[in-house]
Symmetry: C2
């Protein structure tokens, strides 16, 4: 279903947005990336049709979200985004064209260079996948790890929780209210916050799969117990009555981090808990382990 | 078809081969990469089931070839491989396990660090894809381009042509002769040759899609005409009578490069032609444009 012309059209469109000289017009075997640091941060996220997006979603939103998810991982390490490379399974010409529009919006918005990648054909009837590698320069080396939460530290979060869930539900219900659906469709990675926080934090990670799941991961990586005060979690007003659900949803791309007790973060953030000595319970919500411990977050969801 | 246990097993196996401290045990949002150069070379190759490999192929060979294809792109830019990140659509547990074995063989063989990536589930019945990003440090900056062939230069190639075709045909015929099938299953990127050549060459690229197709690309990128003496092309003995076919096959991962007339390359290589002023014919074989100009090489093939 994907012929040479779809591929040629797609690459021509990509070429127009691969403005960095290091991209070499997407005509060479590889790209060049200039760096001014001796340590880089690198991450890769992959999204699959039918798993991370459905065919009826706007391809521009798919592109944006894939970039945003990658840059959120860089943000969690306090890294300034430098460059992207992409592996792309071709869709039809209209889908490809709209994808490139969203990709262009994202690379311009976040100031990151598309340097290259690979396009491949898609066997008929197959779900497509798209992967992006993002490279950034960290503000601090070693960059913050999710394993460095220490007992006695305070737990903080940037932004609000639940906006993506509210947007997802609105989109599923057919809403065309762009402001309402934007948190799900067009998440904003907290890049500037991550860079500002890097030298202050203990542990830091992004909340992509749900606050309770990701906080559990931080606790387990650090060998601690994390205690969250659910009433302190900054849930969006629309989900005030569904606080527990909001804490189990992801896609808001907050930064979750720890600070020494008594410290104040250099960016807007909310204290939501405390790190305690490790126990057999990595997570406490209002003093007790969460209900449904196998459903603390979601890895894959569909609108 | 791919449950949590397949993913957990796969990630545990990957963790065992992600030995570089920068990989952070594959437990963090992103990996760290230490570099000693201010310019890096970056490339991404993606392979798709049913397009680049078939289910009955040994998954270890799929892994090897994907790494080799990426490192060949680095070799073409004279870059020393540093690191890989991977996006992986999960298969069944046995396939995943065997893939990791081949991946481990490749990263050990080529001295490159597996730093991280992403694993995603595969919708039932869907072809799977796997993408790898490779990052390297070039010997020379700017690294050799395929656009720098100049009229009067000589055209050279490393290695031999046709070994992969012979191996492909043997494999398709059911051969278990590992030495015969190895050039197709386990190609060796010419990394050391690329590093040694970088400061001497005009243009350089790898031959992944067929000598005639890739030479045409070099000519077009450089605005030149490339004239190849077919009798000089180092075709493997098994294909001595099928020289034209061998020149239209890829997967041998030779380096194709130009040198000033009279210069001798610092590595084993064969002179196969001359760069001429640009014309409306990018490629001449023994003085005339090649037959079947739309079949100069293959982008996708199946064993």
């Amino acid at each position: 279903m994907t012929g040479q012309s779809a591929e040629e059209g797609f690459i021509a469109a990509l070429r127009a947005i691969a403005r960095d000289p290091g991209a070499r017009g997407l005509t060479d075997d590889a790209a060049e990336l200039s760096v001014s640091a001796s340590t880089l941060v690198i991450t890769h996220d992959m999204m699959v049709e039918g798993v991370h997006w459905l065919p009826r979603q706007d391809p521009a939103d798919v592109a944006w979200k894939l970039v945003a998810a990658n840059l959120s991982d860089l943000a969690a390490k306090g890294a300034q985004p430098l460059a992207l490379v992409m592996g792309y399974m071709l869709g039809d010409a209209a889908w490809n064209a709209r994808f490139v529009e969203g990709l262009d919006e994202a690379v311009v918005r976040f100031g990151v260079a598309l340097l290259g990648g690979d396009t491949v054909s898609t066997p008929q009837g197959s779900a497509r996948s798209i992967g992006i590698t993002a490279i950034g320069q960290p503000q601090v080396v070693p960059s913050p790890s999710r394993a460095d939460a220490k007992p006695g530290q305070a737990l903080w979060i940037t932004g609000t929780v639940g906006g993506a869930l509210a947007g997802f539900e609105a989109l599923r219900a057919g809403s065309t209210d762009e402001a309402l659906t934007a948190p799900f469709r067009r998440p904003e990675p907290h890049v500037a916050a991550g860079e500002a926080l890097a030298k202050h934090v203990g542990a830091m990670m992004d909340v992509s799969d749900g606050l309770l799941l990701d906080a559990t991961r931080m606790a387990q990586a650090s060998g601690t117990t994390i205690a969250i005060d659910s009433s302190a979690v900054p849930v969006v007003p629309a989900l005030a009555d569904r606080r527990d659900e909001a804490m189990r949803w992801g896609d808001d791309y907050n930064l979750l981090f720890t600070l020494s007790e008594g410290s104040t973060p250099p960016v807007a953030a909310t204290r939501i808990g405390t790190v305690m000595a490790g126990s057999d319970r990595p997570l406490l919500i209002d003093g007790t382990p969460p209900d449904s411990p196998d459903k603390l977050g979601y890895l894959h969801r569909q609108p």
